[in-house]
Symmetry: C2
Subunit: 232 residues, 2 copies
DNA sequence: GCCGCAAGATTGTTCAACAATCTTTCGGCG
DNA sequence: CGCCGAAAGATTGTTGAACAATCTTGCGGC
């Protein structure tokens, strides 16, 4: 289990004493998990982690409660907490959410000039990343775009939910090992989507987005070794 | 502050020893808050509550972390935790969420015969409650209906979000004191909505639902003493 | 009447201990 | 040889006490 080296020096830039230590620990773990340094399925031992982070078991448990609430980790009673390891069912749930809130935000969100400019700026970054073949850059831009789409709703709760969903997406990618390039052939579709929004064609944009999400889900499921189903 | 009497006998049916005490405490508090026995704004003192519930301060804090994650309570550093007291901004945020996910579920959810029967059964209960002038019955049926609408999406995360939103709605009502009858004049609109779904008129149902939510939000805001705005 | 300061109360965090449960190991038995 | 079961060890769940940091309150001085 590659946990020990991942934890080495985890408590780098000394923590701000006496100010939300529990939340700080949760943040550190969330970041490490998002970065893939704590791979899905890893066991997070209370004793080892509390020593590595320099906090008490009690405080660490508070952080675990937070992360379990975000379903970033899974808590099995009397057995410990593990980094969440999303499977095919979780992927389907992720896309159920995305296929509902993203097109809805596109249909009914507040799309003003500033929002359009923001979306176009993100797609500029995505295209630049494709030119330099930066898989990470394209992945980041893709996440930024879909986050921005949901943000059109103006709702913080929905943005939070989207953030949670995207975090779970990152876990899915980490669970698949060396990330293949999932994004380059979606850049053009994203660009077209933004162009439709610029043109005020919301219905077409929403419909295209739903097809995009269907395709993306199928591709992910295939990579997870699930036979593609014709119906849903 | 009417906290002491509200806490009397809060630890009734002896709790299952050594089995998720933290979650159990969170559940007890959640229920008491939903029922209005701990009104919005009440301070939840660690010492008093831990004594009343018969758990240690540490375990109680774990429950607080859970409830804060659900934004059922608000945690102010070094000052304590308080039952959330939603204001006008929170109401607007609630309706931003509802106006997005409910119509979207109506538009794109899986509506089979069983789902339609379930919706119609809920409206039967609502109409029965209206006949007996049961405000509580109509309020419950209303929540059940909108919960069921979101459930059409098939997504557990979205149902959870809706559950959270409805819990916040209950807090809003509790903060307004003796609940006036907000629901009787919406029963017919809900019935019409279900009838449209039965007839397969999804677009019309979604559009009507959005208007319904707009009106409901305005009415709530007026009762909160906010001048109605023409635009949004 | 207002400001500042000391005393008290409350929250934030840690530590140590024990109970309950899970895991592993080892011996007995068919 | 393999399987079952019990004892031993490790890990999680919960508690209580202790102390530091912060907030609140009440009092005295100006």
């Amino acid at each position: 289990m590659p946990m020990n080296e991942a934890l080495q020096g985890i408590a780098d830039g000394g923590h701000a004493a006496h100010a939300h230590t529990g939340a700080w620990v949760a943040g550190v773990l969330r970041a490490r998990i998002s970065a893939g340094q704590l791979p899905p399925g890893s066991k997070l031992s209370e004793q080892k982690l509390s020593e590595a982070l320099g906090v008490s078991r009690n405080t660490l448990r508070e952080a675990f409660t937070v992360l379990a609430g975000e379903s970033v980790v899974q808590r099995i009673p009397n057995r410990g907490v593990y980094v969440a390891a999303p499977g095919a069912d979780d992927v389907r749930e992720i896309y159920r959410v995305r296929r509902l809130i993203e097109p809805a935000a596109v249909l009914w969100g507040d799309i003003d000039e500033a929002a359009l400019a923001g979306l176009e700026a993100i797609m500029d970054k995505a295209q630049a990343a494709r030119v330099t073949a930066s898989v990470q850059g394209m992945a980041d831009a893709n996440q930024d775009l879909h986050k921005a789409l949901v943000a059109l709703s103006g709702s913080a709760s929905l943005s939070d939910l989207m953030e949670k969903v995207l975090a779970e997406m990152r876990l899915v990618f980490h669970a698949m090992g060396p990330t293949p390039d999932f994004h380059s052939h979606y850049v053009d579709r994203n660009v077209a989507l933004v162009a439709q929004l610029r043109a005020g064609q919301r219905d077409e944009a929403a419909a295209g987005l739903r097809r995009y999400l269907d395709d993306s889900e199928q591709e992910l499921l295939v990579h997870l070794g699930v036979a593609p189903s014709s119906g849903r």
